[in-house]
Symmetry: C2
Subunit: 326 residues, 2 copies
């Protein structure tokens, strides 16, 4: 999950000075600085490159805008727009991301890993087609059911672009990469299989060919029991768990196949108190029988008091079984 953000005063200071969210993403020194802020403050075991999953559709030629209090707004993609998407030169258009990764890599202590990321094709397609978050996703789902041929072309383009973008982040210094399929949970079972599982398998296979030994972390949020197939059939090294996943089930069904990452409720982190300590220790204990990377089950919330993150870190580090294993 993104570690930097509006919950940190040092991040808000940069945003107030610079303005736009995309300006931070596209200015290597700023993206690197913002990536390093939570590492300096907390000493996490790994740094997540500060960026956004919508940089890929932007690089493919779509309009993307981040509006305050609204979030991302894209020009909605229609079927006749697919043929105009171009992967040509996307690495050049996203060069600022890789430049940021190189700066971070140079400044990070050697024992701190750098994690790159991208959105999974289904989730990026959902944003491209809906034009924003917070909808019921009927447009992307209808397209996927009604016109699988053109939808498949779109997913293929996004799969290729995702491999290129993640590969370039690895060349720039990322030691692991994460694939965020934030809207996996809206896909009915056949859509999940075709448009979440199969592309993930292809992305992992191609990255493993290009970069043997670099782990790929998958995070198909709200995928429920589809996590079993995702863990066993995609070749991912590590599976992100959202807050709803029952951990005894994850220990039994998932950890024999992959490392797992998760799954503290970010609302509990913002709330703090005794329940936070209890829940952090419960997560560590339930997943102690297999490889586990402690993480949140969804993104950190802007109202989170920074001292709660420190308290969480102390609770987790008091539990030696759950150090970062990437």
């Amino acid at each position: 999950m993104r570690q930097a953000g509006r919950y940190l005063p040092e991040y808000r200071e940069i945003r107030e000075r610079v303005g736009g969210f995309l300006d931070v993403c596209y200015t290597p020194e700023l993206a690197a600085e913002v990536t390093l802020q939570p590492i300096r403050r907390y000493g996490f075991d790994a740094a997540i490159l500060f960026s956004d999953i919508l940089l890929v559709p932007h690089a493919l030629g779509r309009e993307v805008e981040f509006r305050t209090e609204v979030g991302p707004v894209l020009e909605p993609l229609r079927e006749d727009g697919v043929a105009k998407l171009s992967q040509d030169g996307i690495e050049e258009r996203l060069e600022a991301v890789y430049a940021a990764a190189r700066v971070v890599k140079r400044e990070l202590p050697s024992e701190v890993a750098l994690i790159g990321f991208a959105g999974a094709p289904w989730t990026v397609a959902a944003y491209m087609i809906e034009g924003r978050g917070g909808t019921d996703f009927a447009n992307v789902i209808r397209w996927a059911w009604q016109a699988p041929a053109s939808f498949g072309v779109l997913i293929d383009i996004l799969t290729g672009a995702t491999v290129r973008h993640l590969s370039a982040q690895i060349f720039a210094g990322a030691e692991a990469v994460q694939l965020f399929d934030s809207w996996a949970g809206i896909a009915a079972e056949p859509l999940f299989r075709y448009w979440c599982l199969d592309p993930a398998r292809e992305i992992v296979a191609r990255l493993n060919d290009l970069h043997p030994g670099v782990p790929v972390i998958g995070f198909p949020r709200a995928a429920g029991a589809n996590l079993i197939a995702y863990a066993r059939e995609t070749g991912i090294a590590c599976l992100g768990l959202d807050t709803s996943v029952p951990l005894d089930w994850a220990a039994r069904e998932l950890q024999p196949y992959v490392a797992v990452q998760g799954s503290l409720d970010p609302i509990l982190l913002a709330a703090g108190g005794a329940a936070l300590q209890v829940e952090a220790r419960r997560i560590c204990a339930e997943l102690a029988g297999g490889p586990h990377v402690f993480n949140l089950g969804h993104g950190i919330r802007k109202e989170t008091p920074p001292e709660h993150v420190q308290q969480l870190l102390e609770a987790v580090r008091g539990d030696s079984s759950s150090r970062l294993e990437v």
Copy 2:
């Protein structure tokens, strides 16, 4: 799932004449008429009483309003409001619902079952605390983590009210009742266990005592792998599956314990075409090894062409393994 609604011209005609959604719910002749409309049109094997899960908080003394294009709006409940909730006389305040059930029961062909329903305590609490749908539910989740004692009082009140409301529907003629936990998927694992699973177990136990042999259907939407515990630990007779549930997994992990109901994507029903037939037959085939009630995986959409429902019914009835088994 609700069978009537804006997709039917005969329903729209009544709404245009009567006005408010709640007016239909609280006028027995209208609620009964609207319940019977889809049965007359399609000859379903069971009728779902036309009503709403927010009638229970309304009967407990909360303001509830249905706004066109916005949906339900409630006066948000705060901790100091819990003590003022009163179950006294809720059966009197909801008498119109039971009167509607009696009218429907009298007019339904004897071979057509009548299904009553209520919202599960967690989902009703979520609406009461947030004041509307479409939020990120941070208020209800924070309250559940931070103040489990007062949250538990609220859930207990809703559990009691739900039992009373479902029991009264059964006395009025309902032959099965369904418990809708539409927001089960937002609950982190411990919250799911305390506030979805435990109340469901209590509701089922109390209804089974009062009405032996009347099946209780549970629908914890987006509960993912938590469906295993829900199927095996609550005592429900039938489990509703949302669109995301992998059906081979449901056949293996759930059907040995409970009947299952589901799980066609309502967006596919609205879209229609060959994919609808293929998917309906796939669902029937995957679940043919155990008890299965064909249903949607979420509510029917207002843009659904009524003839698609007819086509779906023909596709499902062509498959003799999946007749209604309630």
